[in-house]
Symmetry: C2
Subunit: 87 residues, 2 copies
Amino acid sequence: MGDVWKALADPTRRKILVMLKKRDMNAGEIAAEFEMSKPSISNHLNLLKQADLVSAEKQGQNVVYSLKTSVIEDIMNLLSEISDRKE
Amino acid sequence: MGDVWKALADPTRRKILVMLKKRDMNAGEIAAEFEMSKPSISNHLNLLKQADLVSAEKQGQNVVYSLKTSVIEDIMNLLSEISDRKE
DNA sequence: TAAATAATTAGACAATTTTCTAATTATTTA
DNA sequence: TAAATAATTAGAAAATTGTCTAATTATTTA
């Protein structure tokens, strides 16, 4: 199980999460938004998946990535370690 | 201005934030809680300060560190980049 | 079934981060 | 004022992370 905080530490990965907030996207569509090689993006996607922040589903030759619905709750729980503030 | 996400990515630094939630502590007291050299802790404290997550005030030969009251709001704002959810 | 397309894996390299010891600065106390 | 204490700075080494190209796997289409 990967580290959520580490996953959130990289700006490319955070941008991917913001993109997936709008709609599901396959790996190629995601990679097209960055000036970076596809394998590098693939690596970032893997780290996000390890951290359970996104899910991946193969559809034909594509792999469609989705933001995990639980993502916000997870981060809120992490934050509660730092602050007791409710909500 | 340092990167808040990067600052939060390290477990030692997150533990320091949790400790400071309970009470203000000077650098020596903080270092005593870890099996790590004082300069290493000093480095972590500096990164937390850069990220504006803690403040430091010199009191005699000690330097007292405090959790910044704005810390939770700051992190919530960062989260809003990923989710539009209110609260 | 061969060629094309989408994505990942493998392996190497570069950049960044974490940690250390030794040295320095600032403050207090004997 | 000299010695002791608290903390940081400096500089180097080790570990981790991010990136690349080339190769591989899986799927679709001509």
